[in-house]
């Protein structure tokens, strides 16, 4: 597949279908918020959302009724508390019930790694003494064929679509990522289709050194989207808006306040640039 440069709305419309499994990855850093908001604007439904740490972007997708199920390993607002829309879906089925496929971080990392390698399952020395396998039939035990040791196995994750945010892409569609990368590389290469939103498109990428590069033929679409990770962050471009993460707790706690906020800032804005502008208006109001 050759990489294309697309507008965000077109990339989401073309590649994210109702009922698809979708992984928006990025571990705290480089979370593709702009893409998540566009999925909400296009009112995608019945999605199987995959992400190690659901974060605010999945709180928003779940609260807006886009999700049927969630594969995850830690679903909170980091350092702040709960994801209230995720909790409301699990505890009260609002706006509708959400099926959970729950792992540990190490289990998810193994599943993405297996997916990227096109192996059927990932293996780890994990989950011993926990109740997680009792509630997730996808966590099983296998015997090592060489030593007989009992190990945990998890099926590979191969999302229909993985969406990442990155600092840079070049015109050919090669993507470069710096800083905390989480399981972005594994989720990217595990996907059937990879979309990457980027802060900037450049003629030539800087020397890769130890940074991660996703070569152009692994990327379906590159979208130029400045600020596309906000309120998460892009190292070297802008910081994580910790004050927004704290503010989200009060916005998301109440269903109506959440819906009003989403109506105003996401559904009521035509794109991410307008979303950012609407927040800045709010901040200075």
């Amino acid at each position: 597949m050759s990489c294309q440069h697309l507008q965000l709305a077109e990339a989401i419309e073309r590649f994210v279908h109702d009922g698809a499994s979708v992984a928006l990855e990025g571990f705290t850093h480089l979370i593709p918020f702009a893409a998540g908001h566009e999925i909400i604007r296009q009112r995608k439904r019945d999605l199987h959302l995959i992400r190690m740490t659901p974060d605010l972007v999945y709180d928003q997708l779940i609260g807006m009724g886009c999700a049927r199920s969630l594969t995850f390993s830690w679903g909170g607002n980091p350092g702040v508390g709960s994801l209230h829309r995720l909790r409301d879906a699990v505890e009260h089925g609002w706006p509708h019930a959400l099926e959970l496929n729950e792992h540990s971080h190490a289990g998810m990392a193994a599943a993405f790694t297996a997916g990227a390698s096109r192996l059927p399952f990932g293996v780890l020395r994990g989950y011993i003494g926990t109740d997680l396998p009792a509630h997730n039939p996808n966590i099983r035990r296998i015997a090592c064929p060489f030593t007989g040791e009992s190990l945990a196995a998890v099926p590979a994750l191969n999302p229909d679509v993985t969406i990442l945010h990155a600092q840079r892409a070049d015109r050919a569609g090669n993507v470069a990522i710096d800083g905390i990368v989480g399981a972005a590389r594994e989720a990217a290469l595990a996907a059937k289709t990879l979309i990457v939103t980027v802060e900037e498109v450049v003629d030539a990428l800087p020397p890769a050194m130890n940074g991660i590069v996703l070569p152009h033929w692994t990327v379906a679409a590159v979208v130029h989207c400045r600020g596309g990770a906000y309120p998460s962050y892009a190292q070297g471009h802008y910081a994580r808006d910790n004050a927004f993460y704290q503010r989200w707790d009060t916005i998301a706690r109440d269903r109506q306040r959440f819906l009003d906020w989403m109506d105003h800032h996401v559904l009521g804005t035509r794109d991410h640039r307008a979303f950012l502008a609407s927040l800045q208006t709010e901040a200075t109001a």
Partner: protein, 261 residues
């Protein structure tokens, strides 16, 4: 020493457990504060690892999340997350895992998943995250949690990560490679496992606090070790360092972020 809060006292008490030559896998919140306080006081060479992949990080302010930019900018190296869990934690390269939890039982098993039944919980908590394997593989685990009978419980609603399971060697028989929870630091003092039964018992109290307060805060009949130590209050240096760290952190987290449009 000026008067300190219980949170400050437990943070200082936890920090003192960490040695200068430790490699420590840090959980967010109180454990993160304790680990960085240790680094800024008696353990300047301690290697702090956060599960976001930052190794040897030396943040000037405490991260709000496990992956704030400050952690990457001040790290010796930043590695992909599967590497942190496979090459470092699972491979046995971590001395101390430092965890928090919503519930803990008398054998140091932790719950951070649900209150109530899993399928229809009264409270859905964030979940296990990195904890199951940190608890499994670290050579020793320290836990920090404020004690109430709702958090220090007779029976967990869900076991997110293993302490000593049912005690009496059950953890080792289950094949857990690491040593399990060696200390539980709470807002009255410290619990540690009995060498035989592996049941957590009271081993130390903050100076001026009585055994009765500890018993009232724990939801099982708390046993007291033969030797009960006293934890000295924070020194002026410890308290000043912690308060300066917290003040820098509050200021940094409130700083507005501007995206050029």
């Amino acid at each position: 020493m000026s008067a300190c809060t219980r949170d400050e006292w437990m943070t200082v008490a936890a920090a003192r457990l960490l040695a200068n030559d430790s490699v420590c896998f840090v959980g967010i919140g109180l454990p993160s504060a304790a680990c960085n306080l240790a680094r800024l006081t008696h353990a300047p060479e301690i290697v702090l690892i956060y599960e976001s992949g930052t190794i040897g990080t030396r943040p000037d302010v405490l991260p709000l999340s496990i992956g704030d930019g400050e952690l990457a900018e001040t790290a010796a190296c930043v590695v992909p997350l599967p590497e942190i869990f496979s090459f470092y934690l699972q491979a046995g390269r971590v001395d101390v895992g430092f965890l928090g939890a919503a519930q803990i039982d008398r054998f140091g098993n932790l719950n951070s998943t649900v209150i109530g039944p899993y399928e229809l919980p009264s409270t859905r908590l964030p979940g296990a995250g990195g904890a199951p394997e940190i608890a499994l593989h670290a050579r020793q685990v320290f836990v920090m949690a404020r004690a109430t009978p709702r958090s220090f419980v007779e029976q967990l609603d869900f076991r997110s990560s293993a302490g000593y399971l049912d005690g009496h060697g059950a953890r080792a028989r289950a094949g857990a490679p690491g040593g399990g929870p060696r200390a539980v630091i709470t807002d009255f003092g410290m619990l540690a496992p009995h060498p035989g039964s592996e049941e957590l018992q009271l081993v130390a109290l903050f100076d001026g606090i009585g055994v009765e307060e500890a018993r009232a805060a724990v939801g099982w009949p708390l046993k007291v070790a033969d030797r009960l130590d006293t934890i000295a209050p924070p020194s002026t240096h410890e308290l000043d360092t912690l308060r300066a760290l917290n003040a820098r952190t509050r200021e940094a987290h409130a700083r507005p972020v501007h995206i050029p449009l």
